[in-house]
């Protein structure tokens, strides 16, 4: 390798790092701004020019944010809804997509295409009839409208899991079948252990969908004690005298579980996207 070549490589790498650093700054500075605001004294929030590092650092803002408004309660509500939604989505989608992947029946392709087609349907088309239906069920101001539908499955996850199941060779199941295992026995003991990455992925996706859901909570939860975090933050923001330091603290805490979930599942998650990626 000649010196000019090495010089060019060095130059190229430096350029890459410079660009990466600028980009990272753009991505990270808003978060830093948020953190910084969340730790300021209320009177410091509006001082000009703004201080990047608050002095003093008021950690107690986080406590205030969570005690002055029922953020703790809203946190709990969101966790209940999210956990039950994940349970429902994983249970139903694993079973349904296993059916689509492994069992032949008349009408199967049609039903599968229909399933994919529902992904194109804007939520607003079914929103009003569903709202009316849940009203008739007496489900307004309960968590049911946010949870129960997931126990029936979700098109995107069914698609994802079906792709995944189809990449698993059928030999294992044949062997288990010869040993006399039932369909559910095979699914549970043979297939599921191989499907962990895909299940982690849909768990993360559903976590995100439920945790960040906004339109549905607006529709179905109007009592403050039933609010989810998104509603709570929006409520907090709509008050006349917005206290940005507390609001930023609350938003920060709302974001943390998403980050945590992402870091735990990162490996599986990227793997599954790559696998089911758009290979045409």
């Amino acid at each position: 390798m000649t010196t000019t070549n090495r010089g060019r490589l060095l130059l190229k790498n430096s350029l890459i790092y410079v660009l990466l650093a600028i980009g990272s700054l753009v991505m990270l500075v808003p978060f830093f701004w948020m953190l910084s605001t969340s730790l300021k004294e209320s009177y410091q929030v509006f001082t000009w020019p703004p201080k990047w590092i608050p002095d003093p650092i008021k950690w107690s803002n986080y406590k205030t944010a969570f005690t002055s408004l029922p953020f703790g309660q809203w946190f709990n509500n969101t966790i209940i809804i999210t956990v039950l939604s994940i349970v429902g989505a994983v249970l139903s989608c694993v079973i349904v997509s296993y059916g689509f992947a492994r069992f032949k029946a008349r009408g199967r392709s049609f039903l599968f295409i229909l399933t994919l087609a529902t992904m194109m349907l804007p939520d607003t088309v079914t929103m009003i009839p569903k709202f009316y239906m849940f009203t008739k069920f007496g489900w307004i101001n309960t968590f049911y409208p946010l949870i129960v539908p997931l126990f029936f499955g979700k098109a995107y996850f069914i698609f994802l899991l079906r792709q995944f199941f189809m990449s698993i060779p059928a030999d294992l199941e044949e062997a288990a079948k010869i040993d006399g295992a039932s369909t559910f026995g095979i699914l549970w003991r043979v297939i599921l252990p191989l499907t962990v990455p895909a299940i982690v992925t849909i768990t993360i996706f559903q976590f995100n969908d439920s945790w960040k859901d906004f339109m549905q909570p607006i529709l179905y939860l109007s009592k403050p004690e039933l609010y989810t975090l998104t509603l709570g933050i929006n409520f907090f923001k709509s008050q006349n005298n917005v206290q940005w330091n507390y609001l930023m603290a609350a938003s920060m805490v709302t974001m943390l579980p998403s980050l945590l979930f992402y870091f735990i599942g990162q490996k599986y998650f990227v793997e599954s996207i790559t696998l089911t990626g758009m290979k045409g």
Binding site: L20, S92, A105, L121, P122, V125, F152, L229
Partner: protein, 314 residues
């Protein structure tokens, strides 16, 4: 994958009685997919038909509905300037945010695809906004857009530039939304681009190099054609997503100032749950649905001309 039965297929196509084993398999299929088929009926099919019917009525959900035929659609197209305004806002937003997002995320993924140390960390950083997205990000950006002491105008101030009023200025409100959407969605698309880039066989680049292709030529003649399926996917998903923007308007601007961020779905929602004009809102929902269908169909149809699938060569 599905060819286990190919051996007997030719006769089987004709209406033939299923064997016992096949009937059992079919029963198992319907047993397993049953919950979802029921869900399709309860949460999609019936509400869809109901919604279409409601769109032909005048209905406030409290008193009985009154059939009015196509009046709601007529009102929207001929007598409601805000309908057109909301379409315009949504279209403008989509036209800018989707292509800009595609280009920005593609360039970024080329950068993040380089083999240098610490790349994992950088990929994570760029993905962070996508991870946390939602109402908390919107609230954060309201604070960033604050004209007096927000982050953007503070930084512009360091350079002696007096920044605009962002979401409080009718001229800047929609561009502000585009900026925010770039920040928060680029990382998500990057993951998909990276998967696409990984799928390009190195042999293609080697062959191009042998032919004397430079960096730009390799990009133009190998990378881009091989990525067209990914472009296609990102484009379709981007359009469907952008057309349904809702939270930004609801949380940040309430459609203002001066209706400059009156997103279609927000306008629809307002009619349904503020004015209780369920018929009109349903008509709007169907207009949006048909628009999305038409656009997607257009992209799908045109894709034959510009999307290249590796498998098609054989």
């Amino acid at each position: 994958m599905e060819s286990a039965a190919t051996g007997r297929e030719p006769i089987a196509r004709k209406r033939r009685r299923l064997t016992k084993a096949e009937r059992k398999e079919e029963r198992t299929f319907y047993l397993l997919t049953g919950p979802w088929l029921l869900g399709l009926l309860i949460f999609f099919a019936i509400p869809m038909i109901a919604s279409l019917w409601i769109s032909l009525n005048q209905w406030d959900m409290l008193t009985p509905a009154k059939f009015v035929g196509l009046k709601n659609y007529n009102t929207a197209f001929n007598h409601d300037p805000l309908f057109w305004q909301s379409l315009k806002v949504t279209a403008l937003y989509s036209v800018f945010s989707v292509p800009l997002g595609l280009v920005a995320s593609l360039l970024l993924s080329l950068l993040l695809n380089q083999a240098v140390r610490g790349m994992r960390l950088f990929r994570t950083i760029f993905y962070l906004p996508a991870v946390v997205s939602g109402v908390s990000v919107m609230v954060l950006w309201m604070w960033i857009f604050n004209p007096q002491i927000g982050l953007l105008n503070t930084i512009l101030g360091y350079f002696g530039i007096a920044g605009p009023g962002w979401i409080f200025d009718p001229k800047w409100a929609l561009p502000s939304m585009v900026i925010m959407s770039l920040w928060s969605t680029v990382g998500g698309s990057v993951i998909i681009w990276l998967a696409g880039l990984k799928g390009i066989p190195p042999s293609l680049y080697e062959a191009a190099e042998l032919d004397g292709a430079g960096g730009w030529q390799k990009f133009k003649n190998v990378t881009i054609p091989m990525l067209t399926p990914t472009i296609f996917f990102n484009l379709v998903m981007g359009i469907i997503g952008a057309m349904q923007t809702f939270g930004e308007a609801y949380v940040m601007t309430k459609g203002g100032p001066m209706n400059s961020t009156l997103f279609f779905n927000f306008y629809l929602f307002d009619h349904a749950f503020q004015n209780f004009r369920m018929g009109y809102a349903s008509a709007l929902a169907w207009v949006l649905f048909l628009l999305i269908l038409a656009l997607t169909a257009f992209v799908v149809k045109s894709s034959a001309a510009w999307v290249y699938y590796e498998g098609e060569r054989n």
